[in-house]
């Protein structure tokens, strides 16, 4: 029996689809609302500039830093730290995580240690990293690495554990060797999960950026917001936060596209 649902009904039914245009409109409305509240608070004089700068003040800060060339320099510095730290971490964590989820020996050897380190606060290691590797870019990369690597390892091990054993068994009965099963069955089967893990941990890498640049940095978005704090340039702090958010959104988009293209079979 076909019952035509009203739009309101669709919106209130759990897990029911809504038209794409409506979804887009609602998303846009959220942003408009945030900016509206922000404008009312600042232009309406409810909050002082020193606590909450107005949208136009942040925009002005953007153009100011853009014109003197420092903004692109700081964005580049931060991007380098996050991307290098994230890539090194992923290159090691993906294969190692797959092995950890596949071989009980590797799991027994690594899991207790990894689960211990995973809960250590990254911030408390910053002084140690400075002591061990100095105050160059390596130290900042190390913070990103430390913040993402152990999380990636555990999540990718879970992904690999989730691959159904009968999939491997089927490949054996077709003549696959253990190596074949690992390369041609386990790895492709785990790929969607791996990409999802990378996407989530990329977001975490961005959140560690400020921690990495709080101490001993001389460039980067975390650094300018730190420096701005000392001069009470709240508009610059907001600018730095907004740019980190936008860069995060952008990298997220990249991973979404990769997932759609690379593992279309899973969608």
């Amino acid at each position: 029996m076909a019952r035509k649902q009203s739009l309101l009904d669709q919106c209130l039914t759990p897990k029911s689809e809504i038209p794409g245009s409506l979804a887009f409109a609602i998303s846009a409305l959220t942003w408009v609302a945030v900016i509206a509240v922000w404008s009312i608070l600042t232009y309406g004089g409810y909050m002082q500039d020193i606590f909450l700068p107005s949208p136009s003040a942040v925009t002005a800060a953007f153009f100011r830093l853009l014109e003197d060339g420092t903004l692109s320099q700081h964005i580049w510095a931060s991007l380098q730290v996050v991307v290098i730290g994230f890539v090194i971490s992923s290159i090691i964590a993906v294969p190692l995580g797959l092995l950890m989820g596949t071989f009980r020996v590797v799991q027994a050897g690594l899991e207790p240690l990894v689960n211990f380190i995973r809960y250590l606060p990254v911030t408390s290691f910053v002084p140690l990293f400075i002591l061990w590797i100095g105050i160059g870019i390596e130290q900042r990369i190390m913070v990103i690495f430390f913040g993402t690597f152990f999380q990636q390892l555990v999540m990718i091990a879970d992904v690999s554990r989730g691959v159904h054993k009968d999939l491997l068994n089927a490949s054996y009965t077709l003549g696959a060797s253990r190596r074949d099963a690992l390369l041609h069955v386990l790895t492709p089967a785990a790929l969607p999960g791996i990409i999802d893990t990378l996407r989530i941990t990329m977001g975490w890498a961005w959140t560690y950026l400020v921690v990495a640049e709080l101490v001993a940095a001389s460039s980067g978005l975390g650094y300018i917001s730190m420096k701005a704090m000392r001069g009470f340039q709240v508009d610059v702090i907001f600018l730095a936060i907004a740019i980190i958010g936008l860069l995060g959104l952008f990298t997220d988009l990249i991973f979404r596209v990769i997932r759609l293209r690379l593992v279309a079979w899973a969608n």
Binding site: H164, L167, N169, A170, Y172, T173, L174, G175, H184, W265
Partner: protein, 271 residues
Amino acid sequence: MSVVNAAATDAGTRSRLRIKDVRLEYQTRTGKNVVAIDRISIDVPDNEFAVIVGPSGCGKSSLLYLVAGLADPTEGDILLGNTVVQGPGADRGMVFQSYTLFPWLTVRENVEFGLKRRNVPAKEREDIVNRYLNETGLAAFHDAYPKQLSGGMMQRVAIARALANDPKILLMDEPFGALDSQTRNTMQKLLLRVWEQHQKTVLFVTHDIDEAILLGDRIYVMTARPGRLKEEIVVPIPRPRSMDMVMDPEFIAVKRRILELLKNEIKDDEH
């Protein structure tokens, strides 16, 4: 009980499947020892369609996994020809109950998987794959991904994938168990047609008695856990078989016999 026959040195029995005094014991997580299979001996004649039926949990699927080499028997041996089965291999193809197609490969690539592992040249590969796609009615779907297929279609691909490898024996673990009854009938017909063409030794596990009689030359009835061989029944129904035969007196007689055996099994189990 069947007796392991001594004429195993015949040239014609080079790929004969013999299960000799196999026992399978395993430990549960709570540390309890469970005997899944207790001393089973089966000698499957070459090129026969052999079916194992038994109450659920009787170890019939475990027996199939042992023949596939995906698990090791606690005692006893499984021989294919004159070699003892040690680990899985391409000579024993298997169709699983769960859907085990590789979701990242198209239908064609799935069927091609075993051939690729065995380094069959591309041209030959294509010919073989096309042949089996045609035989199983999949030609139109060769570019589809498993996710786009229905359950019955997926099991067709699984059958084509196993056969394309030209195994000495085909193992089937309740392959149609998850399908609706109409699709199951279609698949049984398809399997009969394909098998009557290739005449390969098949070891087929099911709990569906009609399916067992319709498909099998020989039916091994197992007891409840621990699984033992209760009786070996030769199905006296001529081939080619068809769905209409389920009403034939021979069919009903075999069915009554199996039901009787299994009914006793459930009684035995109660005390």
